[in-house]
């Protein structure tokens, strides 16, 4: 069963069209990687699915329900959670408060389960343990990213969307985060993973789509995408490291 169905999604920023009819889906319990060059529209896509940007046209069904014109608050409550680009943690708040705000929508009603969930997040990211009272802004980049993901998990998502979680992080931390994503999938969470780091994303993904100028140009299994020359093309000439080396990085 598809947990998410997106049909012909069109989104504008002012007069500039960022998405030109995006169609794709995610099945329950899989990791879908979303690849694409700078400015392709990846973040716009995630932002629209979360209800932060308004779509001009198209349909979005989450668990079979239309969510296209709903508020971000409603969408989180349904179980669709976003870990935004550049981490966007709440710098002035403590680690604990950051996590609590991730559970904003059931902060009052459901107080009893908050510490339980917090414990679960600290179990997933043991490096955060003992830092609950630290100000989030002073954490290292890797810990901030873990916190951002942890905050997303506090909403108890059925579908977790991550926007470039690996950016600016040391390889060992990237690997750790990717392992967490695999584990989350095993526990039944569906994941949409936007990445510049195509090699890392394709390694954990079950399927992948490539977006170019606001449209899905390829979708398929990682093993198919790795050898697709259009993927190579889409990544050529940017961010040095991954350019054209997707297949090499995989050892395909």
């Amino acid at each position: 069963m598809n947990i998410l169905d997106v049909n012909g999604l069109k989104v504008f920023h002012g007069r500039a069209q960022a998405l030109r009819g995006v169609t794709f889906h995610a099945r329950e319990g899989e990791i879908v990687a979303v690849l694409g060059a700078n400015g392709a529209g990846k973040s716009t896509l995630l932002g629209t699915l979360s209800g932060i940007y308004a779509a001009k046209a198209g349909e979005v069904y989450f668990k079979g329900e239309p969510i296209i014109r709903q508020s971000p608050g409603y969408i989180v409550k349904q179980g669709l959670s976003l870990v935004p680009e550049h981490r966007q943690i709440f710098n002035d708040l403590t680690v604990q408060d950051n996590l609590l705000l991730g559970a904003f929508h059931r902060y009052i009603k459901d107080k009893g389960t908050l510490s339980e969930d917090m414990e679960r997040v600290l179990g997933i990211f043991p490096a955060l343990r003992g830092r609950e009272r630290q100000t989030a802004g002073i954490l290292s980049g890797g810990l901030q990213q873990m916190l951002a993901i942890g905050r997303g998990l506090m909403a108890r998502p059925k579908l977790l969307m991550l926007d470039e979680p690996s950016i600016g992080l040391a390889p060992i931390v990237v690997r750790e985060i990717m392992e967490v994503l695999s584990k989350l999938r095993e526990d039944g969470t569906t994941i949409i993973l936007v990445e510049q780091n195509a090699a890392a994303a394709l390694r954990v993904a079950d399927r992948a789509i490539v977006i170019e100028r606001g449209q899905v140009i390829i979708s398929g299994k990682p093993s198919e995408l790795v050898n697709d020359e259009r993927v190579q093309h889409a990544y050529l000439g940017r961010t040095g490291g991954h350019a054209g080396n997707v297949a090499v990085a995989f050892g395909y």
């Binding site: 971000p72 608050g73 709440f90 708040l93 931390v173």
Partner: protein
Amino acid sequence: MPRGNLMKYLFIAAAGIGFVVLPFVLKSNYLLSIFIVIGIYALVVQGLGIIMGYAGQVSFGQAAFFGIGAYAVAILTTHYHWGTIPALLAATVLPSLVAAVIGRPTLKLKEHYLALATLAFGLLVHIIFSEGGELTGGPSGLTGIPYLNIGGFVFNRDYKFYYLVWAVVVLVFLGVRNLDRSRIGRSLRAIRDSEVAAEANGINSAALKLKAFVFSAFLAGLGGGIYAYYVTFISPAPFSFNISIQFVLMAVIGGLGTICGPVLGVGLVVALGEALRWLVPLVIPHAGGEYQIIFFGLILVLAMIFKPEGLSTGWRKITDSEKAEETGLLETSANT
């Protein structure tokens, strides 16, 4: 840490005793009246600090909300003979309603529309005060506001007013501190740090900012109502755009999103204003009031450049604000 706490409590106790005995120590009524005004302004600036510090929006209309509160008391008591409690209630409700009307369309927009809207609003309100005919008393204002009277206790002396004002300041201080630690306070700070992430977590930032703005107008109105009762006559002058700028300066100097900041900021700016009133005529014999706004503008710019976090943040010193190096990160990851 316990030592720091002890120092903190000693300081609070000393400050508390100082404030209680102050009216007995002060020989001059002039100084006492300055402390009363500082307290009243602190309420107004506390409100401004909430919208500026938490919601990250500048309001140039705080003097207008202050004025609406003051004129509400003046008009309702002189023309309609309302009692203290209903008049003060009106002084707070009226600015809150006006703020809700202005804030609803402007706070949704990301840019600084609130600054523009409140600027225009402040100028407009000032004109209404000056041109309001019999209702507002025109440029000369309204006189004969009765003494503040709570349950038969009449606040007819400065020292009584002093205690009243500072009791209200402390209450508001405690209220704001509670707010700061509540779900709403956390959410407001979250919006300030990252509106996108706050929204993504289901925090309705426009609605929350509107609440903050309404609360800021509420506090301005409360200050205005008390002010009218204190001075017993009012005219449009203390509610002009210049005063709004001074309120912004006080909020910035005190530190945004802080709790002690407003009192500190108001105290410094009022002291400076009084000092200038003394000093400038000695240097420039025929200088008018304009120098003050130039001088304050200059301070505002300097404060923004050299101490953008405000003076009061020195209290909670941020020792390790430097981000941990990537190496520190590697260590923590390797340990797990």
